[in-house]
Protein backbone atom coordinates (compact mmCIF):
# COMPACT_ATOMS: atom_id res chain seq x y z
CA UNK A 1 0.00 0.00 0.00
CA UNK A 2 2.79 2.34 0.87
CA UNK A 3 4.32 1.47 -2.47
CA UNK A 4 1.20 2.39 -4.36
CA UNK A 5 1.05 5.75 -2.72
CA UNK A 6 4.70 6.37 -3.44
CA UNK A 7 4.20 5.50 -7.07
CA UNK A 8 1.14 7.67 -7.17
CA UNK A 9 3.08 10.62 -5.83
CA UNK A 10 5.92 10.01 -8.23
CA UNK A 11 3.47 9.93 -11.09
CA UNK A 12 1.97 13.16 -10.04
CA UNK A 13 5.35 14.76 -9.76
CA UNK A 14 6.17 13.65 -13.27
CA UNK A 15 2.92 15.02 -14.49
CA UNK A 16 3.72 18.37 -12.89
CA UNK A 17 7.20 18.49 -14.35
CA UNK A 18 5.60 17.60 -17.64
CA UNK A 19 3.34 20.62 -17.42
CA UNK A 20 6.27 22.83 -16.66
CA UNK A 21 8.19 21.46 -19.61
CA UNK A 22 5.14 21.96 -21.79
CA UNK A 23 4.82 25.50 -20.52
CA UNK A 24 8.44 26.17 -21.28
CA UNK A 25 7.98 24.71 -24.73
CA UNK A 26 4.98 26.96 -25.23
CA UNK A 27 6.82 29.97 -23.89
CA UNK A 28 9.87 29.38 -26.04
CA UNK A 29 8.31 29.57 -29.51
CA UNK A 30 5.91 32.28 -28.38
CA UNK A 31 8.76 34.69 -27.73
CA UNK A 32 10.24 33.71 -31.06
CA UNK A 33 6.86 34.01 -32.73
CA UNK A 34 6.60 37.59 -31.54
CA UNK A 35 10.05 38.39 -32.85
CA UNK A 36 9.26 36.74 -36.18
CA UNK A 37 6.04 38.74 -36.64
CA UNK A 38 7.78 41.97 -35.68
CA UNK A 39 10.77 41.31 -37.92
CA UNK A 40 8.60 40.40 -40.90
CA UNK A 41 6.50 43.50 -40.39
CA UNK A 42 9.51 45.79 -40.11
CA UNK A 43 11.10 44.22 -43.19
CA UNK A 44 7.83 44.82 -45.05
CA UNK A 45 7.91 48.46 -43.92
CA UNK A 46 11.54 49.01 -44.79
CA UNK A 47 11.72 47.27 -48.18
CA UNK A 48 10.09 50.04 -50.26
CA UNK A 49 12.17 52.66 -48.44
CA UNK A 50 15.33 50.68 -49.01
CA UNK A 51 14.47 50.48 -52.68
CA UNK A 52 13.98 54.24 -52.85
CA UNK A 53 17.33 54.92 -51.18
CA UNK A 54 18.96 52.33 -53.41
CA UNK A 55 17.64 54.02 -56.54
CA UNK A 56 18.58 57.48 -55.38
CA UNK A 57 22.23 56.44 -55.28
CA UNK A 58 22.25 55.02 -58.82
CA UNK A 59 22.69 56.65 -62.17
CA UNK A 60 19.71 56.60 -64.52
CA UNK A 61 21.57 54.29 -66.84
CA UNK A 62 22.01 51.75 -64.08
CA UNK A 63 18.37 52.03 -63.01
CA UNK A 64 16.96 51.42 -66.47
CA UNK A 65 19.52 48.86 -67.59
CA UNK A 66 18.57 46.16 -65.10
CA UNK A 67 17.69 45.29 -61.53
CA UNK A 68 20.53 45.64 -59.02
CA UNK A 69 20.05 45.15 -55.28
CA UNK A 70 22.65 47.76 -54.43
CA UNK A 71 24.26 50.51 -56.51
CA UNK A 72 27.16 49.12 -58.52
CA UNK A 73 28.53 52.58 -58.78
CA UNK A 74 27.44 54.90 -55.98
CA UNK A 75 26.67 58.40 -57.14
CA UNK A 76 25.60 61.41 -55.13
CA UNK A 77 24.89 63.47 -58.25
CA UNK A 78 21.14 63.37 -57.68
CA UNK A 79 21.47 64.84 -54.21
CA UNK A 80 24.05 67.39 -55.30
CA UNK A 81 21.74 68.62 -58.03
CA UNK A 82 18.86 69.04 -55.61
CA UNK A 83 20.96 71.00 -53.15
CA UNK A 84 22.46 73.29 -55.80
CA UNK A 85 19.34 73.98 -57.84
CA UNK A 86 17.38 76.82 -56.28
CA UNK A 87 14.03 75.67 -57.65
CA UNK A 88 14.56 72.34 -55.88
CA UNK A 89 15.69 73.40 -52.46
CA UNK A 90 13.29 76.32 -52.26
CA UNK A 91 10.59 73.64 -52.33
CA UNK A 92 11.94 72.41 -49.02
CA UNK A 93 11.99 75.88 -47.56
CA UNK A 94 8.43 76.49 -48.72
CA UNK A 95 7.19 73.22 -47.21
CA UNK A 96 8.93 73.79 -43.90
CA UNK A 97 7.69 77.39 -43.79
CA UNK A 98 4.02 76.57 -44.04
CA UNK A 99 4.36 73.51 -41.78
CA UNK A 100 5.98 75.60 -39.04
CA UNK A 101 3.48 78.47 -39.42
CA UNK A 102 0.64 75.99 -39.25
CA UNK A 103 2.01 74.23 -36.17
CA UNK A 104 2.48 77.50 -34.30
CA UNK A 105 -0.96 78.78 -35.31
CA UNK A 106 -2.71 75.54 -34.44
CA UNK A 107 -1.14 75.22 -31.01
CA UNK A 108 -1.58 78.84 -29.99
CA UNK A 109 -5.22 78.91 -31.06
CA UNK A 110 -5.99 75.50 -29.61
CA UNK A 111 -4.49 76.11 -26.16
CA UNK A 112 -7.16 78.45 -24.75
CA UNK A 113 -9.96 76.53 -26.43
CA UNK A 114 -8.76 73.22 -25.05
CA UNK A 115 -8.58 74.83 -21.63
CA UNK A 116 -12.17 75.98 -21.93
CA UNK A 117 -13.36 72.54 -23.00
CA UNK A 118 -11.46 70.78 -20.22
CA UNK A 119 -12.52 73.14 -17.42
CA UNK A 120 -15.95 74.58 -18.15
CA UNK A 121 -19.40 73.76 -19.34
CA UNK A 122 -20.86 76.43 -21.56
CA UNK A 123 -23.66 76.99 -24.00
CA UNK A 124 -23.29 74.57 -26.91
CA UNK A 125 -19.98 73.13 -25.78
CA UNK A 126 -20.72 69.53 -26.81
CA UNK A 127 -22.02 70.51 -30.24
CA UNK A 128 -19.08 72.81 -30.81
CA UNK A 129 -16.65 70.05 -29.90
CA UNK A 130 -18.34 67.62 -32.27
CA UNK A 131 -18.44 70.19 -35.04
CA UNK A 132 -14.71 70.82 -34.59
CA UNK A 133 -14.03 67.10 -34.81
CA UNK A 134 -16.02 66.72 -38.02
CA UNK A 135 -13.59 69.11 -39.63
CA UNK A 136 -10.77 66.70 -38.86
CA UNK A 137 -12.78 64.14 -40.83
CA UNK A 138 -13.77 66.40 -43.72
CA UNK A 139 -12.28 65.30 -47.05
CA UNK A 140 -9.74 67.84 -48.32
CA UNK A 141 -11.00 67.14 -51.82
CA UNK A 142 -14.26 68.89 -50.93
CA UNK A 143 -12.40 72.00 -49.84
CA UNK A 144 -9.84 72.20 -52.60
CA UNK A 145 -11.87 74.31 -54.98
CA UNK A 146 -13.57 76.65 -52.47
CA UNK A 147 -10.19 77.29 -50.83
CA UNK A 148 -8.74 78.13 -54.20
CA UNK A 149 -11.46 80.74 -54.71
CA UNK A 150 -11.29 82.03 -51.16
CA UNK A 151 -7.55 82.55 -50.95
CA UNK A 152 -7.40 83.99 -54.45
CA UNK A 153 -10.04 86.51 -53.41
CA UNK A 154 -8.13 87.68 -50.35
CA UNK A 155 -4.79 87.73 -52.11
CA UNK A 156 -3.07 84.97 -50.17
CA UNK A 157 -2.92 82.56 -53.08
CA UNK A 158 0.54 81.11 -53.67
CA UNK A 159 1.86 82.14 -50.25
CA UNK A 160 2.80 79.84 -47.36
CA UNK A 161 0.04 81.54 -45.34
CA UNK A 162 -2.65 80.13 -47.58
CA UNK A 163 -1.49 76.56 -47.03
CA UNK A 164 -0.85 77.12 -43.33
CA UNK A 165 -4.36 78.52 -42.84
CA UNK A 166 -5.94 75.79 -44.95
CA UNK A 167 -4.24 73.09 -42.90
CA UNK A 168 -5.68 74.67 -39.75
CA UNK A 169 -8.97 73.18 -40.87
CA UNK A 170 -7.95 69.72 -39.69
CA UNK A 171 -4.99 70.52 -37.40
CA UNK A 172 -6.75 72.89 -34.98
CA UNK A 173 -9.49 70.37 -34.13
CA UNK A 174 -6.79 67.75 -33.70
CA UNK A 175 -4.72 69.98 -31.43
CA UNK A 176 -7.78 70.90 -29.35
CA UNK A 177 -8.63 67.23 -29.01
CA UNK A 178 -5.14 66.15 -27.90
CA UNK A 179 -4.59 69.11 -25.57
CA UNK A 180 -8.00 68.72 -23.95
CA UNK A 181 -7.04 65.17 -23.04
CA UNK A 182 -3.79 66.25 -21.42
CA UNK A 183 -5.37 69.19 -19.61
CA UNK A 184 -8.13 67.04 -18.12
CA UNK A 185 -5.34 65.07 -16.48
CA UNK A 186 -4.20 68.16 -14.53
CA UNK A 187 -6.12 68.52 -11.25
CA UNK A 188 -8.34 71.58 -11.11
CA UNK A 189 -7.05 72.41 -7.62
CA UNK A 190 -3.93 73.79 -9.30
CA UNK A 191 -5.98 76.51 -11.02
CA UNK A 192 -7.72 77.39 -7.78
CA UNK A 193 -4.49 77.48 -5.78
CA UNK A 194 -2.93 79.79 -8.33
CA UNK A 195 -5.97 82.09 -8.22
CA UNK A 196 -5.74 82.23 -4.42
CA UNK A 197 -2.02 82.97 -4.67
CA UNK A 198 -2.93 86.03 -6.72
CA UNK A 199 -1.94 84.94 -10.20
CA UNK A 200 -3.81 86.63 -13.01
CA UNK A 201 -5.24 84.20 -15.55
CA UNK A 202 -2.77 84.85 -18.39
CA UNK A 203 0.19 84.71 -16.01
CA UNK A 204 -1.09 81.49 -14.45
CA UNK A 205 -1.65 79.99 -17.88
CA UNK A 206 1.83 80.76 -19.19
CA UNK A 207 3.88 80.39 -16.01
CA UNK A 208 2.21 77.43 -14.31
CA UNK A 209 -0.23 75.65 -16.55
CA UNK A 210 1.74 75.38 -19.78
CA UNK A 211 4.81 73.82 -18.16
CA UNK A 212 2.49 71.22 -16.62
CA UNK A 213 1.19 70.10 -19.98
CA UNK A 214 4.51 70.56 -21.81
CA UNK A 215 4.52 66.95 -23.00
CA UNK A 216 0.96 67.39 -24.28
CA UNK A 217 1.99 70.46 -26.24
CA UNK A 218 4.89 68.46 -27.64
CA UNK A 219 2.64 65.61 -28.72
CA UNK A 220 0.09 67.99 -30.28
CA UNK A 221 2.84 69.86 -32.12
CA UNK A 222 4.21 66.58 -33.40
CA UNK A 223 0.89 65.56 -34.89
CA UNK A 224 0.25 69.01 -36.36
CA UNK A 225 3.66 68.90 -37.95
CA UNK A 226 3.01 65.41 -39.25
CA UNK A 227 -0.37 66.05 -40.84
CA UNK A 228 0.68 69.34 -42.36
CA UNK A 229 3.86 67.80 -43.74
CA UNK A 230 2.19 64.80 -45.39
CA UNK A 231 -0.82 66.62 -46.88
CA UNK A 232 -0.47 67.56 -50.50
CA UNK A 233 -3.83 68.02 -52.19
CA UNK A 234 -4.51 71.40 -50.57
CA UNK A 235 -0.87 72.44 -50.55
CA UNK A 236 -0.62 71.91 -54.29
CA UNK A 237 -3.96 73.48 -55.11
CA UNK A 238 -3.12 76.67 -53.22
CA UNK A 239 0.33 77.24 -54.70
CA UNK A 240 1.77 77.64 -58.17
CA UNK A 241 5.31 78.97 -58.17
CA UNK A 242 6.45 80.96 -55.16
CA UNK A 243 5.22 78.70 -52.39
CA UNK A 244 5.29 75.37 -54.15
CA UNK A 245 5.97 72.52 -51.69
CA UNK A 246 8.78 70.06 -52.26
CA UNK A 247 6.46 67.14 -52.71
CA UNK A 248 4.82 68.92 -55.63
CA UNK A 249 8.16 69.91 -57.11
CA UNK A 250 8.84 66.23 -57.61
CA UNK A 251 6.59 66.17 -60.67
CA UNK A 252 9.34 68.16 -62.40
CA UNK A 253 11.30 64.96 -62.85
CA UNK A 254 9.00 64.03 -65.74
CA UNK A 255 10.67 65.70 -68.66
CA UNK A 256 10.69 65.34 -72.39
CA UNK A 257 13.58 62.89 -72.23
CA UNK A 258 11.57 60.54 -69.96
CA UNK A 259 11.56 60.03 -66.21
CA UNK A 260 14.56 61.13 -64.21
CA UNK A 261 14.22 58.21 -61.76
CA UNK A 262 17.34 58.94 -59.76
CA UNK A 263 16.28 62.51 -59.07
CA UNK A 264 12.76 61.40 -58.17
CA UNK A 265 14.11 58.87 -55.70
CA UNK A 266 16.59 61.34 -54.18
CA UNK A 267 13.86 63.95 -53.73
CA UNK A 268 11.63 61.30 -52.18
CA UNK A 269 14.35 60.27 -49.73
CA UNK A 270 14.84 63.89 -48.74
CA UNK A 271 11.13 64.29 -47.97
CA UNK A 272 11.38 61.36 -45.54
CA UNK A 273 14.30 62.90 -43.63
CA UNK A 274 12.47 65.67 -41.70
CA UNK A 275 9.80 63.20 -40.60
CA UNK A 276 12.42 60.70 -39.47
CA UNK A 277 14.24 63.39 -37.50
CA UNK A 278 11.06 64.52 -35.78
CA UNK A 279 10.15 60.93 -34.86
CA UNK A 280 13.61 60.35 -33.46
CA UNK A 281 13.29 63.35 -31.14
CA UNK A 282 9.81 62.49 -29.89
CA UNK A 283 10.16 58.69 -29.84
CA UNK A 284 9.57 58.50 -26.09
CA UNK A 285 6.40 60.58 -26.32
CA UNK A 286 4.80 58.81 -29.25
CA UNK A 287 3.33 56.03 -27.15
CA UNK A 288 2.07 58.58 -24.65
CA UNK A 289 0.34 60.63 -27.34
CA UNK A 290 -1.27 57.56 -28.79
CA UNK A 291 -2.22 56.38 -25.31
CA UNK A 292 -4.80 59.13 -25.16
CA UNK A 293 -6.24 57.60 -28.25
CA UNK A 294 -6.58 61.03 -29.72
CA UNK A 295 -5.02 61.32 -33.11
Amino acid sequence: MTDTIAIGTADRKDAKTGTVAANRALAGPRVNGKAVVMTLYLVFLMLPIYWLVNMSLKTNTEITSGLTLWPRQITFDNYIRIFTDQSWYSGYINSLTYVVINTVLSISFALPAAYAFSRYRFLGDKHLFFWLLTNRMAPPAVFALPFFNLYSAIGLFDTPWAVALAHCLFNIPLAVWILEGFMSGVPREIDETAAIDGYSFPRFFVKIFMPLIASGIGVAAFFCFMFSWVELLLARTLTTVNAKPIAATMTRTISASGMDWGMLAAAGVLTIVPGALVIWFVRNYIAKGFALGRV
Binding site: P48, A113, A138, P140, G293
Partner: protein, 298 residues
Protein backbone atom coordinates in the same frame (compact mmCIF):
# COMPACT_ATOMS: atom_id res chain seq x y z
CA UNK B 1 -15.42 65.57 -11.93
CA UNK B 2 -18.19 68.02 -12.68
CA UNK B 3 -17.22 71.09 -14.64
CA UNK B 4 -18.43 74.51 -13.64
CA UNK B 5 -20.91 76.27 -15.87
CA UNK B 6 -19.31 79.40 -17.26
CA UNK B 7 -20.42 80.98 -20.49
CA UNK B 8 -17.45 83.33 -20.45
CA UNK B 9 -15.45 80.29 -21.55
CA UNK B 10 -16.78 81.16 -24.99
CA UNK B 11 -14.17 83.92 -25.14
CA UNK B 12 -11.47 81.28 -24.95
CA UNK B 13 -13.07 79.24 -27.71
CA UNK B 14 -13.82 82.22 -29.92
CA UNK B 15 -10.46 82.37 -31.79
CA UNK B 16 -10.70 78.70 -32.70
CA UNK B 17 -14.31 79.10 -33.65
CA UNK B 18 -13.47 82.08 -35.85
CA UNK B 19 -10.56 80.50 -37.68
CA UNK B 20 -12.24 77.15 -38.22
CA UNK B 21 -15.44 78.83 -39.32
CA UNK B 22 -13.40 80.92 -41.75
CA UNK B 23 -11.80 77.72 -43.07
CA UNK B 24 -14.85 75.52 -43.04
CA UNK B 25 -18.09 77.46 -43.13
CA UNK B 26 -17.16 80.08 -45.69
CA UNK B 27 -15.97 77.53 -48.28
CA UNK B 28 -18.94 75.31 -47.57
CA UNK B 29 -21.24 78.21 -48.33
CA UNK B 30 -19.50 78.66 -51.66
CA UNK B 31 -20.06 74.98 -52.29
CA UNK B 32 -23.74 75.25 -51.43
CA UNK B 33 -23.97 78.25 -53.71
CA UNK B 34 -22.38 76.40 -56.62
CA UNK B 35 -24.45 73.30 -56.05
CA UNK B 36 -27.66 75.03 -57.00
CA UNK B 37 -26.31 76.75 -60.09
CA UNK B 38 -25.05 75.89 -63.53
CA UNK B 39 -22.24 77.53 -65.38
CA UNK B 40 -21.09 77.67 -68.97
CA UNK B 41 -17.81 79.29 -68.08
CA UNK B 42 -17.02 83.00 -68.18
CA UNK B 43 -18.29 83.30 -64.63
CA UNK B 44 -21.88 83.21 -65.77
CA UNK B 45 -24.13 81.30 -63.42
CA UNK B 46 -27.70 80.17 -63.78
CA UNK B 47 -30.11 79.01 -61.11
CA UNK B 48 -30.46 75.25 -61.28
CA UNK B 49 -32.30 74.47 -58.03
CA UNK B 50 -31.91 70.92 -56.81
CA UNK B 51 -31.28 69.68 -60.33
CA UNK B 52 -27.73 68.51 -59.66
CA UNK B 53 -28.78 66.62 -56.58
CA UNK B 54 -31.54 64.85 -58.48
CA UNK B 55 -29.13 63.88 -61.17
CA UNK B 56 -26.52 62.80 -58.62
CA UNK B 57 -28.80 60.54 -56.65
CA UNK B 58 -30.37 58.93 -59.70
CA UNK B 59 -28.22 55.96 -60.74
CA UNK B 60 -29.75 55.89 -64.20
CA UNK B 61 -28.31 59.32 -65.06
CA UNK B 62 -24.70 59.69 -66.16
CA UNK B 63 -23.69 61.66 -63.07
CA UNK B 64 -25.61 59.42 -60.68
CA UNK B 65 -24.19 56.25 -62.19
CA UNK B 66 -20.71 57.62 -61.90
CA UNK B 67 -21.33 58.71 -58.30
CA UNK B 68 -22.72 55.40 -57.10
CA UNK B 69 -19.97 53.45 -58.83
CA UNK B 70 -17.34 55.54 -57.10
CA UNK B 71 -19.22 55.31 -53.80
CA UNK B 72 -19.38 51.49 -53.85
CA UNK B 73 -15.76 51.35 -54.93
CA UNK B 74 -14.77 53.56 -52.01
CA UNK B 75 -16.88 51.61 -49.51
CA UNK B 76 -15.45 48.31 -50.74
CA UNK B 77 -11.96 49.72 -50.44
CA UNK B 78 -12.61 50.92 -46.86
CA UNK B 79 -14.07 47.54 -45.91
CA UNK B 80 -11.05 45.65 -47.25
CA UNK B 81 -8.66 48.09 -45.57
CA UNK B 82 -10.34 47.68 -42.20
CA UNK B 83 -10.52 43.90 -42.52
CA UNK B 84 -6.75 43.73 -43.06
CA UNK B 85 -5.32 46.59 -41.05
CA UNK B 86 -7.23 46.18 -37.79
CA UNK B 87 -6.33 42.51 -37.12
CA UNK B 88 -2.81 43.01 -38.46
CA UNK B 89 -2.35 46.10 -36.32
CA UNK B 90 -3.47 44.20 -33.21
CA UNK B 91 -1.10 41.35 -34.06
CA UNK B 92 1.82 43.75 -34.51
CA UNK B 93 0.98 45.55 -31.25
CA UNK B 94 0.92 42.22 -29.40
CA UNK B 95 4.30 41.39 -30.93
CA UNK B 96 5.95 44.57 -29.70
CA UNK B 97 8.92 43.87 -27.43
CA UNK B 98 8.24 44.62 -23.77
CA UNK B 99 11.30 46.62 -22.89
CA UNK B 100 14.82 47.50 -23.90
CA UNK B 101 16.25 49.49 -26.77
CA UNK B 102 14.28 47.45 -29.30
CA UNK B 103 11.07 49.20 -28.20
CA UNK B 104 12.31 52.61 -29.32
CA UNK B 105 13.69 51.11 -32.53
CA UNK B 106 10.38 49.43 -33.38
CA UNK B 107 8.42 52.60 -32.58
CA UNK B 108 10.61 54.79 -34.77
CA UNK B 109 10.64 52.37 -37.71
CA UNK B 110 6.89 51.81 -37.43
CA UNK B 111 6.10 55.52 -37.34
CA UNK B 112 8.28 56.24 -40.37
CA UNK B 113 5.68 55.55 -43.11
CA UNK B 114 3.23 57.84 -41.30
CA UNK B 115 5.56 60.81 -41.75
CA UNK B 116 6.10 60.47 -45.48
CA UNK B 117 4.20 62.95 -47.67
CA UNK B 118 1.29 61.14 -49.25
CA UNK B 119 2.30 61.71 -52.83
CA UNK B 120 5.75 60.40 -52.01
CA UNK B 121 4.07 57.28 -50.63
CA UNK B 122 2.41 56.96 -54.02
CA UNK B 123 5.71 57.54 -55.77
CA UNK B 124 7.56 55.00 -53.65
CA UNK B 125 5.07 52.30 -54.53
CA UNK B 126 4.82 53.42 -58.12
CA UNK B 127 8.51 52.73 -58.43
CA UNK B 128 8.62 49.71 -56.12
CA UNK B 129 5.82 47.87 -57.95
CA UNK B 130 7.00 48.49 -61.50
CA UNK B 131 7.85 45.35 -63.42
CA UNK B 132 11.02 46.78 -64.96
CA UNK B 133 12.78 48.80 -62.27
CA UNK B 134 10.82 47.95 -59.09
CA UNK B 135 11.80 45.19 -56.70
CA UNK B 136 8.24 44.05 -55.98
CA UNK B 137 7.03 44.02 -59.58
CA UNK B 138 10.20 42.34 -60.77
CA UNK B 139 10.05 39.59 -58.12
CA UNK B 140 6.34 38.92 -58.67
CA UNK B 141 6.80 38.74 -62.42
CA UNK B 142 9.77 36.44 -62.05
CA UNK B 143 7.69 34.16 -59.83
CA UNK B 144 5.65 33.56 -62.98
CA UNK B 145 2.71 35.74 -62.02
CA UNK B 146 1.63 38.17 -64.67
CA UNK B 147 1.46 41.40 -62.75
CA UNK B 148 1.00 44.91 -64.07
CA UNK B 149 -0.75 47.47 -61.93
CA UNK B 150 -1.18 50.00 -64.69
CA UNK B 151 -2.94 47.59 -67.00
CA UNK B 152 -4.89 45.18 -64.85
CA UNK B 153 -7.68 46.37 -62.55
CA UNK B 154 -7.19 43.58 -60.02
CA UNK B 155 -3.44 44.21 -59.86
CA UNK B 156 -4.10 47.92 -59.40
CA UNK B 157 -6.45 47.22 -56.48
CA UNK B 158 -4.01 44.78 -54.91
CA UNK B 159 -1.19 47.30 -55.16
CA UNK B 160 -3.25 50.13 -53.65
CA UNK B 161 -4.37 47.89 -50.80
CA UNK B 162 -0.85 46.67 -50.04
CA UNK B 163 0.32 50.27 -50.21
CA UNK B 164 -2.34 51.40 -47.76
CA UNK B 165 -1.54 48.52 -45.42
CA UNK B 166 2.10 49.54 -45.60
CA UNK B 167 1.23 53.17 -44.99
CA UNK B 168 -1.32 52.95 -42.19
CA UNK B 169 -1.16 49.66 -40.29
CA UNK B 170 1.41 51.23 -37.99
CA UNK B 171 -1.19 53.76 -36.85
CA UNK B 172 -3.49 50.95 -35.71
CA UNK B 173 -0.55 49.11 -34.17
CA UNK B 174 0.67 52.18 -32.27
CA UNK B 175 -2.82 52.90 -30.95
CA UNK B 176 -3.26 49.31 -29.80
CA UNK B 177 0.23 49.28 -28.32
CA UNK B 178 -0.64 52.36 -26.27
CA UNK B 179 -3.85 50.65 -25.14
CA UNK B 180 -1.93 47.54 -24.13
CA UNK B 181 0.66 49.58 -22.26
CA UNK B 182 -2.06 51.01 -20.02
CA UNK B 183 -2.99 47.57 -18.64
CA UNK B 184 -1.50 47.17 -15.13
CA UNK B 185 0.81 44.19 -14.60
CA UNK B 186 -1.52 42.88 -11.89
CA UNK B 187 -3.98 41.81 -14.60
CA UNK B 188 -1.44 39.59 -16.29
CA UNK B 189 -0.28 38.22 -12.94
CA UNK B 190 -3.83 37.49 -11.85
CA UNK B 191 -4.47 35.74 -15.17
CA UNK B 192 -1.39 33.57 -14.69
CA UNK B 193 -2.54 32.64 -11.21
CA UNK B 194 -5.98 31.84 -12.60
CA UNK B 195 -4.30 29.58 -15.13
CA UNK B 196 -5.59 31.48 -18.16
CA UNK B 197 -4.29 30.47 -21.58
CA UNK B 198 -2.69 32.98 -23.96
CA UNK B 199 -5.95 33.18 -25.90
CA UNK B 200 -7.99 33.67 -22.72
CA UNK B 201 -5.69 36.53 -21.68
CA UNK B 202 -6.26 38.15 -25.06
CA UNK B 203 -10.03 37.65 -24.97
CA UNK B 204 -10.64 38.61 -21.37
CA UNK B 205 -8.02 41.26 -20.65
CA UNK B 206 -6.29 42.71 -23.67
CA UNK B 207 -9.21 43.02 -26.06
CA UNK B 208 -11.61 44.66 -23.57
CA UNK B 209 -8.93 47.11 -22.50
CA UNK B 210 -8.20 48.00 -26.12
CA UNK B 211 -11.86 48.63 -26.88
CA UNK B 212 -11.61 52.41 -26.84
CA UNK B 213 -8.42 52.75 -28.87
CA UNK B 214 -9.72 50.16 -31.32
CA UNK B 215 -12.85 52.20 -31.82
CA UNK B 216 -10.73 55.24 -32.57
CA UNK B 217 -8.52 53.19 -34.88
CA UNK B 218 -11.55 51.96 -36.80
CA UNK B 219 -12.96 55.47 -37.01
CA UNK B 220 -9.71 57.03 -38.25
CA UNK B 221 -8.94 54.25 -40.70
CA UNK B 222 -12.47 54.28 -42.04
CA UNK B 223 -12.53 58.04 -42.49
CA UNK B 224 -9.08 58.32 -44.00
CA UNK B 225 -9.59 55.41 -46.38
CA UNK B 226 -12.98 56.83 -47.33
CA UNK B 227 -11.30 60.14 -48.20
CA UNK B 228 -8.21 58.66 -49.82
CA UNK B 229 -6.97 60.69 -52.74
CA UNK B 230 -3.30 61.39 -53.12
CA UNK B 231 -1.73 57.95 -52.94
CA UNK B 232 -3.92 56.15 -55.51
CA UNK B 233 -3.95 59.27 -57.67
CA UNK B 234 -0.18 59.19 -57.91
CA UNK B 235 -0.01 55.42 -58.25
CA UNK B 236 -2.74 54.70 -60.78
CA UNK B 237 -4.36 58.05 -61.55
CA UNK B 238 -7.72 56.34 -60.97
CA UNK B 239 -7.14 53.74 -63.64
CA UNK B 240 -6.91 51.47 -65.41
CA UNK B 241 -10.12 52.87 -66.84
CA UNK B 242 -12.07 53.95 -63.77
CA UNK B 243 -11.16 50.86 -61.75
CA UNK B 244 -9.54 52.80 -58.91
CA UNK B 245 -11.41 56.07 -59.21
CA UNK B 246 -12.50 56.63 -55.62
CA UNK B 247 -14.92 59.37 -54.59
CA UNK B 248 -12.22 61.94 -53.90
CA UNK B 249 -10.48 61.33 -57.17
CA UNK B 250 -13.77 61.60 -59.02
CA UNK B 251 -14.59 64.79 -57.20
CA UNK B 252 -11.31 66.46 -58.06
CA UNK B 253 -11.66 65.34 -61.66
CA UNK B 254 -15.08 66.97 -61.81
CA UNK B 255 -14.09 70.16 -60.05
CA UNK B 256 -10.55 70.96 -61.13
CA UNK B 257 -10.36 68.83 -64.27
CA UNK B 258 -13.64 69.56 -65.98
CA UNK B 259 -14.61 72.67 -64.00
CA UNK B 260 -18.10 71.22 -63.62
CA UNK B 261 -18.56 73.32 -60.54
CA UNK B 262 -22.26 72.65 -59.97
CA UNK B 263 -21.94 68.88 -60.21
CA UNK B 264 -18.77 68.87 -58.13
CA UNK B 265 -20.38 71.01 -55.46
CA UNK B 266 -23.43 68.76 -55.22
CA UNK B 267 -21.15 65.73 -54.98
CA UNK B 268 -19.10 67.48 -52.28
CA UNK B 269 -22.15 68.13 -50.17
CA UNK B 270 -23.48 64.60 -50.38
CA UNK B 271 -19.99 63.24 -49.72
CA UNK B 272 -19.65 65.50 -46.70
CA UNK B 273 -23.06 64.50 -45.37
CA UNK B 274 -22.20 60.81 -45.56
CA UNK B 275 -19.02 61.45 -43.60
CA UNK B 276 -20.83 63.61 -41.08
CA UNK B 277 -23.40 60.90 -40.47
CA UNK B 278 -20.81 58.16 -39.98
CA UNK B 279 -18.74 60.45 -37.79
CA UNK B 280 -21.77 61.16 -35.61
CA UNK B 281 -22.49 57.47 -35.12
CA UNK B 282 -18.90 56.85 -34.02
CA UNK B 283 -18.88 59.91 -31.77
CA UNK B 284 -22.07 58.76 -30.03
CA UNK B 285 -20.74 55.25 -29.51
CA UNK B 286 -17.47 56.65 -28.22
CA UNK B 287 -19.04 59.05 -25.73
CA UNK B 288 -21.17 56.15 -24.51
CA UNK B 289 -18.08 54.02 -24.02
CA UNK B 290 -16.44 56.90 -22.15
CA UNK B 291 -19.52 57.47 -20.00
CA UNK B 292 -19.59 53.75 -19.23
CA UNK B 293 -16.00 53.90 -18.13
CA UNK B 294 -16.47 56.98 -16.00
CA UNK B 295 -19.43 55.38 -14.28
CA UNK B 296 -17.28 52.35 -13.51
CA UNK B 297 -14.46 54.46 -12.17
CA UNK B 298 -16.73 56.60 -10.02
Amino acid sequence: MTKTLNNKAWFLVLPVFAIVAFSAVLPLMTVVNYSVQDTFGNNQFFWNGIGWFQELLDPSKELGGRFFEALWRTLLFSAIILAIEIPLGILVALSMPREGWTVALCLVLMALPLLIPWNVVGTIWQVFARGDIGLLGWVVNHLGIDYNYTGDALDAWATIIVMDVWHWTSLVALLCYAGLKSIPDAYYQAARIDGASRWAVFRTIQLPKMRRVLLIAVLLRFMDSFMIYTEPFVLTGGGPGNATTFLSIDLVKLALGQFDLGKAAALSLVYNLIILAICWVFYTVMTNVDADRERVEA
